[in-house]
Symmetry: C2
Subunit: 709 residues, 2 copies
């Protein structure tokens, strides 16, 4: 420990959380000052290594010898916490580099978040870190805490209980709020990180670190943006396979994203891309702060269930119905009990009780009766998880019910159990007993079911194969595509003609209706003769989006004469309507048989790269918006299958209203090939195949639009 880091990004996190010694640069004697709070926190946390206050104006602070600079510290410094003003920060950081300090926590504000000048200063800071091979948390952060070291290298007013949850937050204020909440609820953390401006270390470094850290069982985060989108999915996916990663990502709304930008200067990717990326990475996304906390307590204490079959035990009807509603709303299912379980339940419950799920032991049940019902339900092999509900009972001791649940569940430690005991003061003791035994009790039935649904979702995500390199086809012609793009660019265009886009598709094995550009009438007729009749003519001009509106399309031309007439008609009409627009010629396309129309498209997200879309095509795209998205990166055939399943277009593919099923495999392959194409060619900024017509056998792209950059 304390040695020089290898320089590899993020490799120093062991040193960061377990430094050989800590220097507090900008340490202060004055209470209320940040430099004072940090030093005091380091000492109060019980950190066991040497601590060096650094401040040229002081001799001694809090009983420790104070050094004028980090260079003056006689021993190696493992971690320097920097709390000097922004103007002095660069000098101090450089001195740390000279002194061989491997890790920095810069709490100082006044960088990227205050504008242009600050951004420049932050860049200098990063450059200095890079030069000296230092790693850095911040700037503009609260600091970091590790309860197992222990070390509080922050100016937080509290220190978390020791526990299993690693927490990282892009908002220092939320760190504080969550810490307060955890102290009140008795929730423990392993690590607590305020990310600040994420100039060097970002969410990904800490997620990776926590994934490898045996003290952390769950990774929890609040983020406003992801810094390295494309790496994020792969690495977070690896982390999520080791332990649950639950994140609340704010800035989901247009207005929220604006607030996020003015807050930490984050360039927010669209929320949809985050949703897609998180899901592909296996991250559980919390919709609200409350959900984040509710998930945290469930993940930190409960096993991941084998399936989604939930049993409910209650002593009153109302809450049972409410929980049942929520089971369905959250995509879980109500377990059906075995005959044996039902018979045994009938044996232990009064006749008026409901032995079916939700099991209602009735309001006058004793703790013993409740316990018996719980035991039987938990033991049923058709039950994956149990929700225990209790309302303030008349002749029942809630604490005894709690103890009964705890005893019985020991026999089935692999099944998660969550509770909601309602009744304020009257169930306080019971709730404390449950929580001390590691069984979360929620304020309301809905929240207990919601938390459980997170466990189920995680279990299901983990059953999927990990994000791979994506489906890859060998029969693609990269050189051909390169050639086409070069030719297009040489013509000072970025929008491809239909015939060019068609050749790109063809090079990647995507079936498309043959199409060729004709500059002269005779060429058009030759092409039509070659392709075979009937044909379609379309004006070829990247400037004209709605070709039909300007008389630029003729369909169903059956012979050479019709082609000749159509060619001239198009040129005449387009010239008349749009006299100034340059026209490259007319494209001749073989007219394909009609069929059901789908769309396969690509858009590019600033954070996560290309997103592939599939859905109902034709004119319905914008109206119905029946589409699903995936990242092109690592897109497997499995995932494409799920992508298709999410749409109503899937119903059409499988054979709607007695029609024969269409070639879903060919559609899936087209999606995979499109994903491969846009992975291989980052210069493709937009791509639309609409319609992609699917037949009983095969598919055909009738219109391919492509823009490069």
């Amino acid at each position: 420990m304390g040695g020089r880091p290898s320089g590899r990004r993020g490799s120093a996190l062991e040193h960061l959380f377990h430094p050989s010694s800590v220097a507090v640069i900008g340490a202060s004697k004055t209470e209320g000052k940040i430099g004072h709070a940090i030093l005091k926190n380091v000492l109060d946390s019980g950190y066991r290594g040497p601590v060096y206050p650094v401040n040229p104006k002081e001799e001694e602070i809090l009983g420790l010898k104070c050094y004028p600079s980090v260079a003056a510290v006689p021993e190696p410094v493992g971690l320097a916490v920097v709390a000097v003003p922004a103007k002095a920060a660069l000098t101090v950081v450089r001195e740390c580099g000279e002194a061989g300090v491997p890790c920095l926590v810069v709490v100082t504000a006044g960088f990227r978040e205050v504008g242009k000048e600050g951004l420049a200063l932050e860049k200098d800071l990063v450059e200095t870190c890079r030069r000296y091979g230092m790693t850095m948390v911040g700037p503009n952060c609260l600091g970091i805490m590790g309860t197992h070291t222990p070390l509080n290298a922050s100016f937080s007013a509290g220190f978390p209980h020791r526990g299993d949850i690693a927490f990282l937050s892009q908002s220092g204020a939320l760190c504080a709020a969550i810490l307060d909440w955890s102290l009140e609820r008795g929730i423990g953390f392993s690590k607590f990180v305020s990310l600040g401006n994420k100039a060097v270390l970002d969410e990904l470094d800490f997620i990776r670190d926590a994934a490898e850290d045996d003290y952390s069982k769950v990774i929890l985060g609040y983020i406003e943006d992801v810094k390295r989108g494309e790496e994020f999915v792969d690495e977070a996916s690896r982390a999520a396979r080791k332990k649950p990663v639950v994140i609340i990502k704010s800035g989901t709304s247009q207005a929220g994203a604006k607030a996020a930008s003015s807050h930490t200067g984050a360039l927010a990717g669209s929320d949809l891309a985050y949703d897609v990326a998180f899901r592909q990475a296996g991250i559980i996304r919390a919709a609200t702060m409350e959900e984040l906390f509710d998930y945290a307590t469930a993940f930190a204490t409960q096993p991941i269930p084998k399936g989604r079959r939930v049993a409910i035990v209650t002593n009153s009807g109302g809450p049972g119905i409410i929980a049942t509603d929520q089971v369905e709303a959250r995509g879980l299912t109500m377990a059906g009990f075995s005959k044996k379980t039902l018979e045994e339940l009938r044996g232990v419950l009064p006749p008026a009780a409901n032995i079916y799920n939700p099991v209602d032991v009735l309001g006058d049940a004793t703790a013993e009766v409740y316990r018996n019902a719980f035991r039987l339900v938990l033991a049923d092999p058709g039950v994956d998880a149990v929700v225990c509900l209790l309302t303030r009972p008349a002749g029942i001791d809630p604490a005894e019910v709690a103890r009964g649940i705890i005893e019985e569940r020991k026999r089935f430690p692999a099944k998660p159990v969550v509770a909601a005991f309602l009744g304020g003061e009257n169930v306080r003791e019971a709730n404390e007993i449950l929580e001390q035994a590691g069984l979360p009790s929620y304020e309301f039935p809905e929240r207990a079911v919601m938390a459980l649904s997170g466990l189920v979702r995680y279990g299901e995500l983990m059953k999927r194969p990990p994000v791979g390199r994506g489906a890859v086809f060998d029969d693609v012609d990269r050189d051909k595509v390169r050639e086409i793009f070069a030719a297009v660019k040489s013509k000072r265009r970025l929008v491809l003609l239909g015939s060019e886009a068609h050749r790109v598709a063809e090079a990647y094995g995507i079936p498309a209706a043959p199409i060729d550009l004709a500059v002269r009438v005779s060429e058009a007729v030759e092409t039509a003769d070659r392709l075979g009749y009937p044909v379609v003519l379309k004006v070829a001009s990247p400037k004209i989006t709605h070709k039909s509106d300007v008389g630029g399309v003729k369909v169903g031309l059956e012979d050479a004469a019709a082609v000749r007439e159509g060619f001239l008609g198009i040129l005449e009409s387009v010239h008349r309507v749009l006299p100034q627009v340059p026209v490259e010629g007319v494209e001749v396309q073989k007219m394909m048989p009609g069929g059901t129309e789908f769309i396969v498209g690509v858009s590019r997200d600033v954070q996560f790269g290309p997103l592939v879309m599939f859905g109902l095509g034709g004119i319905w795209v914008n109206l119905i918006k029946d589409v699903s998205f995936r990242l092109a990166k690592g897109l497997t055939m499995d995932e494409i299958e799920r992508m298709i399943l999410e749409t109503k277009a899937n119903t059409l593919l499988r054979g709607y209203r007695g029609r024969p099923p269409l070639d879903a495999a060919a559609v899936a392959e087209t999606i995979a090939r499109v994903a491969q194409l846009v992975r291989d060619f980052p210069e493709i900024s937009e791509l639309d195949i609409n319609p992609l017509v699917a037949y009983e056998k095969g598919v055909c792209a009738l219109d391919v639009k492509m823009t490069i950059s």
Copy 2:
């Protein structure tokens, strides 16, 4: 008070909550018995009238003279609380009737909820009440409480604080849970009602009562079903116009509804119908128990905002962004500030602060700075409501911030203000100050915004005209429809032929493609000649649903010869495929020009009567499910307009992708006429117009399916 009620349903509620005297029948000396708890509760609540324990086995209970029967009580009894076993209940209730007791609360269980025998017993109970003109709460309930009387006529273990919220619950256990919750949070209630089996008095009676009660400002309810669906909408609508009605209705899921039925024997209407009915009545529906409570605190303390423009004041970015996201998610809008406000904010805030919405005063702001920012934002005429957020601040006293907010908001009492102060123990005092001043502070920013959204929604619902008698057209021919139905029934059919349904539509002014039944070929040709070519032929048989599949449809017949051939072809084909199915003939329909296809349909809900549906028609109906629903009852043109706006079909109506707009007014009128038709004829159990083709001018029903009962 205490007089004989008029016998009109629900007229006795004043007597119920303010009885001249109370008898507890089945009063007991034994602690732990319900009959003891009730008597003790009546006495402990501070009820000021005479109290009479009734129990033939006792001389005296809790210091009061005990009577052998209600008949033996020397003075008139205003309210009898019945806590005898189910077997004895009927006799006791009859005695009450003989003694002239006007109001009963029957807590006894063992009625409808235990099955057939119990149901019979309950019916006898109701019949007895009716005979003697008594009103009754329960049976199988916890009882009732009124804090302003005061009176606790229940066996609840607690008595609520005096306050503004009237609460009614179909679950006794939830009553207890909510009471405990309210006592812990210091929330007060005016009335607290456990509905039980709702054999006589139901939710509607108590909603109406609370609406008229000056002590109640908000009506809150938990229900599992509505007993009188059709009355409910009208009456709840009237109540909702006087004060907010917030209801959580459980049993939304298939599984939940099953649980609800086994619980109180409720026959649950479909959840969709409840959603529609609640919205039409102006009831705010809470999705979860937490929402119910969060709404309750907001409605009980805050004014209804003029609009949906929300301002956020925060001292930290993260929570500000989270709240902003929620503003958008809940359909509110972020207020834009006036130039004046922005200038003044710039004057009171440091340069790094964000003066735009959400206003971020920064973490080091003093209470004074926070107060100034709040004052300016609240005063902006473009702001309808303010959300105040605070995270645990370093140099700020949260209690002082709370006091500042309370002072400033006095100047704008008409604008609601909600808060979320985060920080556990550190903000406890501040939260108490806020709540004591009637300003709700929520645990999380999302919940504060959610609660606010309820106020906004209520405000918007109240701006709509009240549920009226619905749009009514005079040019309808009821006799004609009656005649057609009679003729259909005389043929022992319930499914109308297309030509019959068409005549019904015509009688109600709904444009439909002319169609007539032809039994012979010559008739078909005559009809076609009369209607004009081209025509469509369809086999006429109520047994054949998919006519095309059996060769039962011929379209685009251009002349008499084609009609002749088509007629014979249809009969031949249908006879070959379905030899056993009776055929009435062939219907000849004028072939109308194609157009955009919509659907107008009707289904009948067991609770709320006919529901009218509108949406995308043709084959898309089932796939896309782009439909909206309204109750036919009281359906106004305004509401139809909103109904259309909710669908994507609306986009097609307004002119999609450069196409000319279609006749939306004619579509709306068709919906209104359909609603009138099914209101006028309850025997119509199903009606489908699909497609209803809309043109630039006018609409035409191409296929009308109708079933009567």
